[in-house]
Symmetry: C2
Subunit: 303 residues, 2 copies
């Protein structure tokens, strides 16, 4: 089951070196989730071949422009290209006010349902859940209210032992039940236990998104054991004072956080406009957490 | 004296084929004026080597997203890169409300003065004037209140006849006065009339910007005799019904308007996302107004 993230933008507030502000598309089994929506996101979606109308849910971490200024353009274009399906939007309560004033003055009445879910800045909580995916928000510590997001895959299916079930002539209609862990009972009443017919389900995967935040202990309980952790790394550690002052994180700190929370892999991003070359950020994080990669625009990363 | 316009975006509302929404930079003698500011304008400025802090005045025609959604990002980036100089912004009154709500929730207090000049939608008027340039707004007819802009160069200097003034040993300190048309009187009281020392001043130039509008007679008095007229041409004329319905203009109509108002040159733009190839729009306008060009992103056009 596909679970991967496409980077649409990796820049901090001032876009430079043709880097775009923050936005990511999470593809979980062809359900598309958009995380943050900086200016130009609709053009980036188009550049990387993602049809915006396939996105069902948009999550906005906070109301700094580099994380949401592409939203009105994207929502308007969805309207113009004839979207009919519901769109769920999750973000700070004031986001509604920002959208409403702009739709009011442009006299835009969207052709589809935009369902807004305000996120409480006060504590962690599940903001979306279906059979296969659960999304939680948790508070980060930034200059203004900001939340991170955690995407947890639901229980996965066991892996069917094809040779075994075929040799036993088990009808295919029972396969889904066996994959869920049920035993098979044949017409004679003989029982074939699930663990003889299938391998244990692989571990469910999780993606964690942390941008923007200063390093604190506060959110660490919510980001434990991520298969893939995206963590902002605006600065190199020689600028840790500036990072604290602006409520951002350094690449070294991002590596330490990934290590302390037992992440499997770390993805850096939200790079300051001062760094043309990103290699030093990667090297710095890898000194404490070797399995680190740079988020690069247009690149998909497996969760 | 330089007077030219750089196209940053030429797309209508839905950006396609890597075309960006509307924005233009007018360079008049190194004074930079920004006209409209669609999403991504700050990135386009950077791509074409324009330092945003050189822009002193921004003019917004109307509150459809493809004409202003890049504004908050641009104003914020000017703040982040340390702008100190005043910035004058001209646009519909509600633009102030749209900016305020976003600066409020992002807790942004700009480091420079942003001086907002609401444009009356009711009638034409001068909105900016200095010694060398006058900018007027005039009402267009679109789905929502929309204004066009006219940039009129002030009186130009006469051309000094270098050989003549040098032969007469006229001190250089008098040159500016002669260029303004004053006679020269030497120490003996002999008078040298200005027209013996200089050639008549070249005609002052004007740039006219019309986007977005349906074709009407209403604004034609304000766009007469433009040296360069930018006129939207969202559709080909086979879609004239759609153009009227959406309050836009066809390429043929743009050509006719340029002809009727005695423009010297016409620049097309605001192309619908349905046209990958723009040549048919150009050909159509040229059937009635041969001196037409397509506005192309990154290209400068002389006024």
């Amino acid at each position: 089951m596909k679970f991967e993230v496409l980077i649409l933008g990796n820049s901090s507030a001032t876009p430079m070196f043709d880097r775009h502000p923050t936005s990511q598309v999470l593809n979980f089994n062809e359900q598309l989730f958009l995380i943050d929506c900086g200016e130009g996101t609709q053009m980036q979606l188009s550049r990387y071949g993602i049809k915006s109308n396939r996105i069902g849910h948009i999550f906005i971490s906070h109301l700094h422009g580099d994380h949401y200024l592409g939203l009105v353009g994207l929502l308007s274009s969805m309207h113009l290209v004839g979207r009919k399906s519901d769109l769920h939007l999750y973000g700070p309560a004031a986001l509604k006010e920002i959208l409403d004033v702009q739709f009011l003055h442009s006299e835009t009445v969207l052709r589809y349902n935009l369902i807004f879910h305000p996120i409480s800045p006060d504590g962690p909580g599940i903001i979306f859940e279906n059979r296969t995916m659960k999304v939680s928000a948790f508070p980060l510590t930034h200059r203004i209210a900001c939340t991170g997001f955690r995407f947890d895959e639901g229980p996965r299916a066991r892996t069917l032992l094809g040779d075994v079930v075929q040799a036993l002539n088990i009808p295919t209609v029972y396969y889904p039940a066996i994959k869920k862990g049920m035993d098979y009972v044949d017409e004679k009443g003989d029982v074939y236990p699930a663990d003889q017919l299938s391998l244990p389900a692989p571990k469910s995967r999780s993606y964690v998104y942390c941008s923007d935040t200063v390093r604190t202990e506060g959110y660490l309980p919510y980001v434990q054991h991520a298969d893939l952790m995206y963590h902002e790394s605006t600065f190199l550690h020689d600028m840790v004072d500036r990072a604290k002052e602006t409520f951002h994180t350094t690449a070294l700190e991002a590596g330490e956080i990934a290590k302390e929370t037992h992440a499997k892999k770390l993805l850096l991003g939200h790079y300051s406009a001062r760094y043309r070359d990103l290699a030093p950020l990667l090297e710095e994080a890898r000194t404490v957490f070797p399995n680190t990669e740079l988020s690069i625009e247009g690149k998909w990363f497996l969760v």
